[in-house]
């Protein structure tokens, strides 16, 4: 009998179970409990999207820690604490805020192990919200995981379903390396699946074959997996068989699954909500034209956001986001081999 959870609830369940199984797991972030130092209800917010709601009640002040608005110092504190026996899960409310705290990830967390000759262990997880579609405009809607994938020493996770969200977050917390965990704000409510109650871990670097097909390989990330599936349905009705791959983690990336699929189909479309330049879409295209060139029958098309900030007006934002229609058009173009 199915147990349908939203992406939000699946994430909360993963946090709760990880905290129950390991007392060194702590959470920190702005208003992740809420009401700190306020006269009214404590745990008033549970995070701005309600992901951590209720955890303060179960685990208390010592393990669900609200912070002042000081991302550099509390993200850095999470990193430092991770080298001292804790497994912090810090929330960066929106990944757009990376600019005020990036040093602690780029130059600290990501480099300790290497700089210190393999002697450091930094099991920290940064949970962060990304993506357009919420009408929050240029500074609250970006898809910035490509920048994190660029950085050696970081692992980067981009779950597309509630099932994956739970299993990947549990893996992230158990992992001994720094992990940046990207949650799409629109999926908190839109993504719902049958999610087993018992804790389970989905290994990093293992892509999910969302659907098998012979004509074209579509690699899509996060929310785009759902858009690609929509496009694939339409295409199937028109006799085009798409193989849809969701890498789930982009660093490490399951290169073999992508290459095997392209060896079979000979065609590739990459769908990525990122800005186009130096993006994951480009990264995957570059991988395939190096390692599977001889199998390619057509150009590799990248379906991404345009090279513009995210606009506010709904009509503009809707045009900014890659759509099933654009994905379908890209697949048709590679089917023509043009």
């Amino acid at each position: 009998m199915a147990r349908i959870l939203t992406y939000r609830d699946a994430l909360r369940e993963a946090l709760r179970q990880a905290m129950e199984e390991d007392p060194t797991v702590i959470l920190m972030g702005e208003d992740i409990a809420g009401g700190k130092g306020a006269p009214g209800e404590q745990d008033a917010w549970g995070g701005d999207m309600g992901v951590t709601k209720g955890l303060w009640g179960q685990f208390g002040d010592a393990r669900v820690i609200d912070t002042p608005i000081s991302e550099a110092s509390y993200i850095g504190a999470a990193v430092g604490a991770a080298t001292c026996g804790l497994r912090p899960v810090a929330e960066l409310m929106f990944v757009d805020f990376m600019g005020v705290c990036f040093d602690q990830l780029l130059n600290q967390a990501a480099k300790f192990r290497y700089m210190f000759g393999g002697k450091a262990k930094t099991p920290v997880v940064i949970r962060t919200q990304y993506g357009a579609g919420y009408r929050t405009a240029a500074q609250h809607s970006q898809t910035l995981y490509s920048m994190f994938a660029h950085v050696p020493g970081l692992k980067v996770v981009v779950p597309s379903t509630a099932y994956d969200a739970k299993g990947l977050l549990i893996s992230a917390i158990r992992d001994d390396d720094p992990v940046i965990f990207f949650e799409h704000k629109v999926l908190y409510d839109e993504a719902r699946d049958d999610v087993p109650e018992a804790p389970y871990a989905i290994p990093f670097g293992e892509a999910n074959f969302v659907r098998e097909g012979d004509d074209v390989t579509i690699v899509a990330l996060g929310r785009m997996v759902h858009f690609a599936a929509k496009a694939a349905d339409v295409l199937a009705k028109n006799g085009v068989s798409c193989e849809l791959i969701d890498p789930r983690t982009i660093s490490p990336l399951d290169e073999d699954s992508i290459l095997e699929s392209v060896e079979k189909t000979g065609r590739l479309v990459v769908v990525d909500e990122s800005y186009p330049r130096c993006s994951m879409a480009a990264d995957i295209a570059g991988l395939v034209v190096d390692k599977a060139f001889h199998a390619l029958k057509a150009p590799i098309r990248q379906v991404t956001a345009p090279h513009t900030p995210v606009p506010f007006a709904p009509v503009l934002e809707d045009a900014f986001i890659p759509s099933p229609a654009k994905i379908e058009a890209a697949v048709r173009s590679v089917m023509k081999g043009a």
Binding site: E30, P39, P68, S70, T136, H140, T308, P311, V315, L316
Partner: protein, 323 residues
Amino acid sequence: MQLNRDVLTESYRKMRTIRAFEEKVHDLFETGALPGFVHLYAGEEASAVGVCAHLDDEDRIVSTHRGHGHCIAKGCDVEGMMLELFGRRSGVCGGKGGSMHIADLSKGMMGANAIVGGGPPLACGAALAAKTLKTGKVAVTFTGDGGSNQGTTLESLNLASVWKLPMLFVFENNGYAESTGSGWSVAGGDILRRAHAFDMPGFQVDGFDFFAVHEIAGEAVERARRGEGPTLIEVKFGRFYGHHEGDAQTYRAKGEVERLRADHDCLKNFRQRVTEAALLTGSELDAIDAEVDRAIESAVAVSRKAADPDPAVDLLTDVYIRY
């Protein structure tokens, strides 16, 4: 300092416009007419207006995510603002910015800013430009209590002091950062302490009292214009609505908002002060109220009918000046 009639009427008109604008936005949001995140300034009007009363279009201000009040106080067009909140093409930012990024550089309003702590460095730059170009202009950065803990804000205090910049750091302490109490998040409980730490004059003022804000801000602006460097002003008050529209506000005390509205309304205080002192009459103020309400209504009516941007034309433009 005795204020003349024009300053009084203009200040009242602006405070009243902010209040009416925000209450209208609140209603519109509830009906689903407005997309996105909206943070209302209602209750805090005396700060924006008391400060901006001393500024002209060449003086610069930098705002926060709670920026509507600062825009209106600095003279931005209310219809253009409402159009922007609706995401219309004729909005003050062409519908591309929205509530959290609303700006009008022609009025010296450098923008709402959805990055907490994003504004103070920019204001340092505006002040540096004024100083370098010897324009005699000043810059004001509005920051919240939560934003006062951001490193970018704190190091800007140091930079402004070291560079002796003609600027004001106005900290709007409304008691909360989202649901977090400022008595907890600001070490020591008040932001004022930071003035001394960074070697600049600092003041605390009742933000429900337009006259108090106006006086302190006036002195600070003069100091800045005289080239005597920055000033920190902590404005203490509370907001009449939630952090953003949709906030259940369970973290606030029972009856807190009602008490604020009843006993700490800057508009009521203003009306009482000026009428008791016979500076303005109640009917003069009522007339302003009516004019303001009509202006807001018409801004909404225009905005409802206005055209959206055209993706084919507008999506890809304005990224660069030269491509």
